[in-house]
Amino acid sequence: MNYLKNNFKKYVFINCLILIYLIIPIHTDANESEIKPQTNTLNKTATELVEIIDSYRGLSEAGFSFDITNVSYKADRDSRTNQLSVDVKTNNSLVEFKSPARQKGRILLKKEDDMWLYIPGTRRVIRISPAQRLLGETSNADVTGSNFSRDYNAQIITTKTDKKAEQIQLVLTAKNKKMSYQKVLFWLTDTPPFKPIKSEYFARSGKLLKTAQYKAFKEFNGELKIHKMLLSDPLISGSFTWMLFDNYRLSTLPDALFNKEAIVNL
């Protein structure tokens, strides 16, 4: 019996060594990915692909509105739900907090890089920074979204392992140090309509801060938009946020609406 036990341990040890041996070359391959700024098989440049990514979040000249429902999970506590109503036009967005009741009526205005928060109880509009958090683990920048075309340089990365998965991988590097995420990795399908699959967000230090998985899409006015997204925080075990983007609708959104003076009277 002892003989069997000792031999089993020995076999497991050997197997694990083999396993480590097998894994290392795979990671080595992944690390040796080739950066190819040129086009993919469908002649899309990195810049064009980033514009496609932006279009899935709705960054376009025409104003439209949608609702976001966030359900956040953490280990050892119940899930929490909040609902937001969002107006978007080019680089501007207005986010109104609809629930929970304790946050209802707050409005977050994003005008390019600048953000203001309206607090209904005191009628104050204060400038806030993108790094501030109004929704627990979700930063302001996450809620209002990023304009990747404007703020990031993109390159297509092709890895030997990605080819079989029929995915395009992009690396987005922030054009300036002000951005919350200095590097973003994006995986898209290799064929039209180039749906986002997953993205990873990195801090300046290189630390992975957040992972997003794009779970479902919905057609709006002939264009596909993100419908369901799952955010996970690799730094906190068990921390996830499901985001539902729904009720997309065309809206007449005058430019003057995206003004800190106007949001007091919405």
Binding site: N15, L19, T81, M115, S129, K178, N247, A262, N265
Partner: protein
């Protein structure tokens, strides 16, 4: 044999990985979530109640046991806010409170209309006309609001965060025009004080909203030259904001005529510099410096403390005259009119919201001129989607003739409950 164990081992590891992944990642929850339904009419009700216990300081330079302050205070507020839209560009808003105060001496109940107004907005949102009672907020300051030029005594949040009177608006006509990043505003508002009844005050505002954010406010009160204020703020980087405010008034906030004579000056200015920083963990830090000429200078303060010491001694020795009582009353009232001195520092730390929706705030307001301090510690907790609470401790620390040493409370504890329906 090795190959079989190896493959088993691989299968086992991947199986464990899958089990872990499946158990950790929550399933799509959106089948049960109801969507947001927009409505032309909306209203919110909040109930706020607090209990405060004070360790009272009834014997100091300005108050030799003459005025007895309350050791206990209770307040309950029913706050109803309604908002109705007609068509797309006409809107009505109101905010009404029912307030009940109880202290060791008396109980008061009253209703107040904090706001009630009509807003018309042009189709392109560039024009807004408003009439009615409106609460304006023009300042970006966190602790001090220099550019709120309409009756600033209603706007001192550091004195009492829960005082609903601070949210009361002014009866006014308000016209605003927005073009690109610029806005222009003109306000005619009610004006009432001891010498002017049912008069009007006028304000013109112009501002630019962008990376650099500016505003200029020109204000005209009855029988007085023009006041003005400017503000500037900008985002330094992803985590840091900076702001500056300046005001130039022709009326001093402190009422000095009963305290000393010989002041001929009628120009009073103050300025504020502030910055906020958010760390990667979500904690927030704010620092503000205030310089105000409205507060008493060193020589003025010396006169006040000398006169108060004399009056206090006379009263304590049962030799107090009417002038002595009046003088101490005026000195004690000066605590209500803003800062007593001229240089202040304010620092606040706000922790990130915890997993269980706890938050901690700690602030310090330092009077640099006399080194007295006001410390405030707050524990905030959201118990569910509706109920929040705040436990607040205030500690006033300073010498017998220093600003925070003269406060009627040496320290206080307040428990605030808020239910949002």
């Amino acid at each position: 044999m090795m190959l079989r164990i190896s493959s088993n081992c691989l299968f086992f590891i991947f199986f464990c990985e899958n089990i872990n992944a499946q158990s950790n990642i929550p399933e799509d929850p959106f089948a049960q979530v109801s969507s947001i339904k927009p409505s032309p009419y909306d209203h919110d009700i909040d109930l706020l109640a607090y209990y405060q216990n004070n360790q009272v300081n009834n014997n100091h330079l300005f108050n030799p046991d003459l005025v007895e302050f309350n050791s206990e205070t209770q307040m309950a507020i029913f706050d109803w806010q309604a908002n109705a839209h007609w068509k797309n560009n006409l809107q009505g808003k109101s905010r009404v409170i029912l307030q009940s105060d109880k202290n060791t001496v008396e109980t008061n109940t009253n209703a107040k209309v904090l706001e009630a107004n009509l807003t018309w907005t042009s189709e392109d949102y560039s024009w807004q006309w408003q009439v009615g009672r409106i609460k304006t907020q023009w300042s970006n300051g966190f602790n001090w609001s220099l550019t709120n030029l309409l009756k600033p005594y209603r706007d001192r949040p550091y004195i009492d965060l829960d005082d609903p009177v601070q949210q009361k608006g002014w009866d006014m006509i308000n016209v605003r025009y927005t073009k690109n990043k610029w806005f222009y505003q003109f306000v005619i508002a009610e004006f009432n004080n001891e010498t002017h009844k049912n008069k009007q005050q006028y304000t013109a505002r112009v501002g630019y909203q962008g990376i650099n954010d500016y505003s200029l406010i020109i204000h005209k009160q009855p029988s007085q030259d023009l006041d003005f204020a400017v503000s500037f703020n900008r985002l330094i980087n992803d985590a840091i904001t900076f702001k500056m405010e300046y005001s130039f008034l022709h009326q001093r906030e402190q009422q000095t005529s009963s305290l000393f004579s010989g002041i001929q000056k009628n120009r009073w200015q103050k300025y504020l510099l502030g910055s906020a920083f958010t760390s990667e963990s979500g904690s927030n830090y704010r620092l503000e410096y205030l310089n105000t000429a409205h507060g008493f200078s060193k020589s003025e303060w010396q006169i006040i403390t000398d006169n108060s010491t004399q009056a206090n001694t006379n009263i304590s020795n049962n030799q107090g005259s009417t002038e002595d009582y009046n003088y101490l009353s005026a000195a004690l009232n000066s605590l209500n009119y803003g800062q007593l001195r001229q240089n202040y520092l304010y620092f606040i730390y706000t922790s990130a919201l915890s997993n269980n929706l706890w938050q901690y705030r700690q602030s310090l307001q330092l009077n640099i001129d006399d080194n007295s301090q006001l410390h405030r510690l707050e524990f905030l907790k959201s118990w569910n989607n509706h109920l929040t609470s705040r436990l607040q401790l205030e500690l006033f620390n300073g010498c017998n003739n220093c600003e925070y040493g003269l406060n009627p409370n040496e320290n206080s504890i307040r428990l605030v409950l808020n239910w949002a329906f």
